[in-house]
Amino acid sequence: MAEYNWPEASKRSLIGKRISRLDGPEKVSGKAKYTYDLKRPGMLYGKMVRCPHAHAKVSSIDTSAAEKMPGVKAVKIIQDPGSEIQWAGDGVVVVAATEEHLAEDAARAVKVTYEVLPHLVREEDLSKAGDRAKPAAEKVAGDPTKAFSEAEVVSEGTYSIAVITHCCLESHGQITEWEGDKLNVFPSTQAVTGIGGEFVKALGIPATNVRVRMNHVGGGFGSKFNADRWGIEGARLAKLAGQPVKIMLERDAELMVAGGRPSSFAKIKMGAKKDGTITAWESNSWGTGGPGGAGMPPLPYVWQIPNQRMNHTGVATNIGPARAWRAPNHPQACFLTMSAIEDLAAALKMDPLEICLKNISLLGPRASLYQEELLKGAEIIEWKRKWHLRGDTTAGHIKRGLGLSMHTWGGAPHNSECRVTINPDGSVSAELASQDLGTGTRTVIAIVAAETLGLPIEAIKVNIGDSAYPPSGGSGGSTTVGGVSSSTRRAAADALDEIFKVVAPALNADPANLEAAGSKIQVKGDASKSMTWQQACSRLGVKPIRANGKQPDPAKGSLASSGVAGIQMAEVTVDTETGIVKIEKLVSVQDMGLIIDAKTAESQIYGALIMGVCYALYEEKIMDQATGRMLNPNMEFYKLAGIGDIGTLVVHLMTGQEQDARGVIGLGEPPVVSPGAAISNAVANAIGVRVPSLPITPDRVLTAMEKKGGLT
C-alpha cells in the first residue's frame, strides 16, 4: 500500500523549504492574465445602471434612448418597476456595447425613476435604529452577577470597529460566453468549482453545460465566492446579444456593493481579582453587515472566562451586503476583547503580558502554545525593556508604546480531488479545479507532488482553474492548503505505487520495497539498484498512469487538521501634536501545523500584518446618513497603507514536532486577526488613553487625548 503520510522532517527535500512561487515570473512580466485582461472573439462590454438611493422602489424605466445609441447590442432590465432596492449602487438595468465607453454612454442614457424610501446607513447610535435593531437572545455562562459583585476590580469600556470593504484591486466581474446552449464563464473568483452551480440554478441549464475557467485572480479575501447579480445577468445579456459580454465593476461600484466586513460596537465590562486573575465578562454589542444585520462575533475572544453575560443586536442597514472578509468575525471579536483586557491591565496598573501569562489556563487546549508564543514575541520585541505603564512619560510630543494580541482560526481542509498523471515521456501533471488567490496554491500542489514522486518541482505541471478538472473546494476559511495538499499527496502516492509495480520486475524487487528520490526509483536503502525516472516511465509503453486522490479519504489517514494559535505585538509612536500614529514594529509569532512552503507562508503573514495596518489606521466605509451614500468610494479617500506606512515586520514561524504531528493547517486568515488589537493597545500604551475606535485616525487620537485632558 502506498505511503500516504507526510515524510518525516529529515526526509523532506522540498516540503517546508523556502521555494519561490511558480507563477512569479509570469506575474512580474505582465504575462499573467486575469479575467480583467481577457478578450473573447466578438466580446462586448457590459455596464450597469445603478440605483443612486440607499432604499427605494423602482417606479419606471425607459431604455428607448439607450437602445438607439451607437454600438449598443443589448439592453436588459434586471429589476423591474416595483422592485425594492436596499442599497445605493445596486444594479437596475444592464447594457452591452461594442466598446467600453459606448456602454457607459448608453447606461447614462437609461432613464429610471424611483420612489425614495426611508433609509438607515449608520449604526453607531443604536437608539436611532428603531425596528431595524434585532436583538438576539442573551447568552450566559457561569454566574456573572455574583462574579462581578465579588470582583476586586471592574473595568469598563466602549469600543468600535468600522465597516470596511474588501477593495480587491481586480474588481469583481466576469466574461460570459455562449456556445449554442453551453455557457463559458471566465470569472474573477475564489470558487471555480462552486460558482458554476449558481449559473445552473439561475439559468435552468444542465450542469454539464457550464464550464468555468480562470487563471489568476486579483484579490478576493472572501468577497469572490458567488456568481453575483452581474454574473447571472451578464450571462442573460450575452444570450440576448448573441455575443460574449464582459462586465467588470468600476472602482466606485466595487467599494459600494462588492465588499463589506460587518462593524462591531460593544460596551464591555470585565471583572478581576487584584492579582490580575480574570473572573467575569459582560458585553453589550451591536453591529451591521448591511440588510442582513450582523451576528455576534465570537466574544469573549479566545479567553474562556468562567462567568459571562453577552447581549448582541444586529442592525439592518442600507449599506450593501456584507461578504466574508478574511477571518470573518475574528478581527472584530479580537479587537473588542483584547482592548478590554489591556484596559483591565491598565486599571490594575499591571503589564498586560503578565495578565495574559497569569490567566493562560483560560486559553484552552493550546494554552501552552500561546505561552510559548507570548514569550517568543516578547523576546523579539524586547517587551521587558520597552514596556511601560500606560502613558509614555518621556518628554516631547512623540510617544512610544507597546501592545499585544492573540488569535486563533480553524483552517480545516476543504473537499478536494486531484488527478495526477504520469506520462511515458516522464512528464507529470496534477489537475484540480482549484484556484490560486496569490496565496501560492499552485506552488503548494507542485511541491507536494514533486516531493511524493522524488522529482524536482519544475517536473510537475500544475493545471488548475478549470471546472473540467476534478472538483476542489472554494478558497475560503484557510481551507485550501489542507485540501489540495491532501488530495495531491494521495493521488501522487497512488500513481507512484502503480509505477513501482511496472518497474519492480526490472529491478528484481518487491514493489513495496521501492522508493522514489532524486529523480530515480530505487530499492529502499540500496541506491545501486535503481533506474532513472525517465527510464521508469518509458516502461509504461503508451499508457500513462492516472491516479485520483481525495480529501477526505479516511481509509488513507489524515494529512491535515485545524486550529492554530498566534500572537502579535506592536510598537508604535504617536505624534501627540498631529495625532498621527506610526508603526515602528510588528511581530507575528504564528503556529500553523506542517508548513509546505516557508517562503509563501511568510508572505501570507507579512501580507496579513500589512492588511492589519490598513484596517487599524486607515480603512473605513464612510456612509452619509443624509444621502444614504458612501462618501469615499475611491482610492484617494478609502485609504490603504503604502510601502512607507508599515514599519519593521518580523515573522516567526512555529515549527517542530508538535506542528508536524498536526499535519497541514490553513494560514491565510489567522494572522490578519490580531493587528487591529495589538496596534490599538500600543497606541493606548503610548498616549495614556484608549482611542476607542478603529481605524485610529489622527482626529480620533486628538479627540481621545482631549477627553482625557491632554497628556499625563
Partner: protein, 155 residues
C-alpha cells in the same frame, strides 16, 4: 507611438486614455486599471523616459513618444534584475499590482541606483497593494539595486 521599441499606429477617440489604448485597442494588458485616477500606481508605464500613471494620460498625449510597459522590461525572455528580485523575494501575491510596481521600481532604480530603505519607502509611495507585498518589494528593490551595481545577488 513606439511601444517597447515597436511602432504602433492607432486611431482612437480623443477621450481614450493611454491605459485604455494599451489594454483595449492593443494587447498590452500588463498595466492595470484599478483606481483610474492616479492614486494606486497599477497602471504605471514609462512615457518618454518619465514614469506616468497611464490612466491619467490621454492616448493623444503619447503620440510620437516612446513608451515602455512591463512587457518591455525583460529581454529575450530573461527577466530584468528588478523582476528577478521580485520573484526571489516573493514581492507578489495575487500579482495584480505587480506590473505597475515593477515598472515604478525600475524607474526608481534608474534614478536612485544606491537607495536606502528610507529612499525606497519614500520613492515608491505611489503604488498600492492590497495583498500586502510591501515587505517583499522593499527587499526586492534593495537586492536589485545591488545586482545592478554588480554586487552579489541579494547581498
Amino acid at each position: 507611438m513606439r511601444i517597447n521599441g515597436t511602432r504602433q499606429n492607432l486611431s482612437v477617440e480623443p477621450r481614450v486614455t493611454l491605459l485604455d489604448a494599451l489594454r483595449n485597442y492593443l494587447d498590452y494588458t500588463g498595466a492595470k486599471k484599478v483606481c483610474d485616477r492616479a492614486t494606486c500606481g497599477s497602471c504605471t508605464v514609462i512615457l518618454g523616459g518619465k514614469m506616468v500613471y497611464s490612466c491619467s494620460v490621454l492616448a493623444i498625449e503619447a503620440q510620437g513618444k516612446d513608451i515602455t510597459t512591463v512587457e518591455g522590461l525583460s529581454t529575450n525572455g530573461k527577466l530584468a534584475p528588478i523582476q528577478a528580485a521580485f520573484v526571489e523575494n516573493d514581492a507578489q501575491q495575487c500579482g495584480f499590482c505587480t506590473p505597475g510596481f515593477v515598472v515604478a521600481c525600475k524607474a526608481f532604480l534608474d534614478k536612485h541606483p544606491s537607495p536606502t530603505l528610507a529612499d525606497v519607502e519614500k520613492g515608491l509611495g505611489g503604488n498600492l497593494c492590497r495583498c500586502g507585498t510591501y515587505a517583499g518589494v522593499r527587499q526586492a528593490v534593495l537586492a536589485a539595486a545591488n545586482t545592478m551595481r554588480g554586487g552579489q545577488k541579494n547581498g
